[in-house]
């Protein structure tokens, strides 16, 4: 059992999606996250355990390697895909309430702004850390963030912006959210933004990179 979880962890860490996937070369001919998850469930490992003892720690390692520049994004994306294959098996247990994610994280690039590469990375890493992620896409006005929180009470909201003309919109959006949903925590990020600006517009948290978000979230969750 231990061994199965360890194998699953490695499959996710190195981005082995399923048996037939050619990457990574060193795991050729081996089972991937897909098969290993099925086996684990069959052999009686609890879904919560799979999540907590294999998937999340795997993505945690991936995140660390990435932030130490030891792997590239494509490798991280392969891991995310492998995790996705595993999650497919776990989905029924989420629906039934048998396992819970750490919470819901709503993210979007603000009104007027189309840059989403950074936002997508954040979304992926947060998902990897065991959160339910709702990605609202780009060019998102206040109303859509608010609607999403209304549908997911207690969710955290994250705003991304890359333009000096759209970061100004963040201020407005934060005010709108806080006016409607005063207890909602709002995170902000993106190249032109910094901690001073975060404080200035009354947002709750800023991080320069996804790793910072994940670390802060794990503090919040514990």
């Amino acid at each position: 059992m231990e061994e199965l979880l360890e194998k699953l962890l490695q499959a996710v860490e190195f981005g082995k999606v399923d048996f037939k996937s050619p990457y990574p070369p060193q795991l050729k001919g081996e089972n991937g996250a897909y098969e290993l998850t099925i086996k684990a469930l069959e052999s009686g490992v609890g879904p919560q355990q799979i999540l907590e003892n294999a998937l999340v720690p795997a993505m945690d390692r991936v995140g660390k390697k990435f932030s130490e520049n030891k792997i590239f994004v494509p490798q991280m994306l392969m891991s995310a895909k492998a995790m996705g294959a595993s999650m497919l098996q776990l989905k029924p247990f989420f629906t039934s309430g048998e396992i819970k994610t750490k919470g819901t994280f709503i993210i979007g690039t603000v009104k007027g702004d189309l840059h989403d590469i950074g936002k997508n990375l954040v979304a992926m890493m947060v998902e990897g850390a065991g959160w339910t992620v709702i990605d609202l896409g780009v060019d998102v006005p206040s109303a859509r963030y608010i609607e999403a929180v209304n549908n997911n009470p207690g969710a955290i909201v994250a705003l991304s912006a890359l333009l000096t003309t759209t970061m100004v919109n963040m201020g407005e959006i934060v005010s709108d959210i806080k006016a409607n949903l005063p207890t909602t925590k709002v995170f902000i990020g993106g190249a032109p933004v910094n901690n001073d600006y975060c404080q200035k517009i009354g947002a709750d948290f800023y991080a320069p990179d996804p790793q910072g978000v994940v670390e802060h979230l794990s503090k919040l969750a514990s």
């Binding site: 520049n69 030891k70 792997i71 590239f72 994004v73 494509p74 994306l77 007027g112 189309l114 989403d116 590469i117 997508n120 990375l121 896409g137 780009v138 060019d139 333009l163 000096t164 003309t165 970061m167 100004v168 919109n169 032109p192």
Partner: protein, 458 residues
């Protein structure tokens, strides 16, 4: 592809300040006609653009143009290009962009009349079509305001017309992050090419009608995005180098449709375009560190005709406003190249060689930009019968060059990088020569919810 042979075949002739087909402008710039000019780029500081801030917006652009041209006069500048790259609001509501052109053109004219300083505005509307997802490249409601800005903006004094068009980007974005070179070829050599044909027919038509200059398009959203991501260590540098080469077959379509240069600064495909078509080009390198860091600070200038800083906010530095300071930096860079041109062919080549040698083996993206390698790759980029074949062949040649430099020990690459070399080669070699075969091969692999085939005439 229209071009079947290179205009510049000798690496020695691929040099700064001199283009086989120079471009003359209304106020007397001769771009590529024997000297390098500064192309200043700038943007607003942190602020929003709305009715109440419009006076400030115009004032910023007035201040930028005035500060830059005043300094240019003091530095005995031979000429300046000011690029207005519009932001969303200025294109969506074209009269805002047009008004900014007017504000700046008035100042250009003032300095021309008063001091004889030649300057010209490059007008670069942003491509609004990407605001719809999936983008509607041909049927978008946004085409209208874009074209209105082009037309009325050129009449208002935006004499050089450019765009960083985004056809294919909806496919390339993910492909970049996945390091998926085949999909990049699809995005650029199939979708990009088709959209460029559609768009540049229109732009060239308008330019011809009004006697203005259809300048060129940059694959910024593709190849520069790749470079920035590689610089952040998100994707391999070797991959970014190949994306650059592949982008050539897309950007050259502007010339096929009638554009004459100067090609846009942020397109490092410029040197290839210059070799193949003979147009003058704008480039950016070390002096664009205000806008993005890069591994090609010096080598980027090896064959530039305009020298740009890509973008800097209109904020205060200790010396004055940042655009003024950057204009000064660009002018001194240009002066050095121009002095070499005055001194003759030998000093020019020595300066060029130093610029090249100082960067060439530090990064695969620099490597492919040396004049020798540009010529070698360009030959492959025009040999085939389809854009797809050309993109593939160019990229494989770039890969050859990288592997040769690696084998000879001239370039050093980490294992993280070299691991990608065989993978990239395999994938490139699996690409067929024929576009239709390639499309057939790719369609099942692509997420068709992300793009609309018919918007590309497919």
């Amino acid at each position: 592809m229209k071009y079947k042979s290179l205009i510049i075949t000798n690496p020695e002739d691929l040099i700064f300040g001199i283009a086989p087909n120079p471009v003359k402008t209304r106020r007397g710039l001769e771009i590529g006609g024997g000297q390098v000019y500064a192309e200043l780029n700038f943007t607003l500081p942190v602020m929003s653009i709305n009715e109440s801030t419009l006076p400030q917006v115009y004032e910023h652009y007035r201040e930028i143009a005035e500060g830059a041209l005043e300094r240019a006069v003091d530095l005995n500048s031979k000429g300046v290009v000011l690029e207005l790259e519009t932001l969303l609001e200025m294109t969506k509501t074209p009269w805002i962009g047009i008004e900014i052109v007017k504000v700046m053109n008035e100042i250009c004219e003032k300095y021309y009349q008063k001091h004889g300083l030649a300057s010209e505005i490059r007008l670069t509307p942003n491509d609004l079509r990407e605001f719809e997802r999936p983008a509607k490249q041909r049927t978008s409601q946004y085409l209208e305001p874009m074209m209105e800005l082009f037309e009325k903006g050129m009449i208002a004094g935006g004499d050089l017309l450019s765009i960083e068009s985004t056809g294919g980007k909806e496919v390339s974005d993910d492909a970049l992050m996945n390091c998926d070179i085949k999909t990049i070829v699809f995005a650029l050599a199939v979708l990009g090419v088709r959209d460029m044909q559609f768009l540049w027919k229109k732009i060239f038509g308008l330019a011809s009608q009004h006697g203005k200059i259809a300048a060129g398009d940059s694959a910024c959203g593709f190849a520069n995005t790749a470079m920035v991501l590689a610089e952040k260590k998100y994707i391999p540098r070797v991959f970014a180098a190949l994306v650059r080469v592949i982008s050539v077959v897309r950007s050259i379509v502007a010339m096929e449709e009638g554009a004459v240069g100067p090609d846009k600064d942020c397109g490092y495909e410029g040197p290839f375009l210059k070799a193949i078509t003979g147009i003058p080009i704008s480039m950016e390198g070390k002096t664009a560190a205000c806008a993005h860091l890069s591994p090609i600070g010096n080598i980027a200038s090896a064959c530039c005709d305009l020298w740009s800083n890509e973008s800097v906010q209109n904020i205060k530095l200790l010396s004055g406003m940042a655009p003024t300071a950057y204009l000064e930096q660009l002018e001194y860079d240009a002066r050095l190249m121009n002095q070499a041109l005055i001194a003759g062919t030998v000093p020019s080549h020595i300066l060029q060689q130093l610029l090249v040698a100082s960067d060439v083996y530090t990064d695969p993206q620099a490597l492919i930009l040396s004049p020798e390698n540009v010529i070698r790759i360009s030959k492959e980029l025009i040999k085939g019968d389809s854009y797809v074949a050309n993109a593939r062949n160019g990229a494989i040649t770039a890969l050859d060059i990288i592997e040769e430099a690696l084998a000879s020990g001239k370039i050093k690459l980490s294992e993280m990088e070299t691991a990608y070399l065989p993978i990239l080669r395999d994938e490139l070699e699996s690409i067929p020569e024929s576009e239709s075969e390639f499309i057939e091969m790719m369609l099942p692999l692509l997420d068709q919810s992300k793009f609309i085939l018919s918007e590309y005439g497919l």
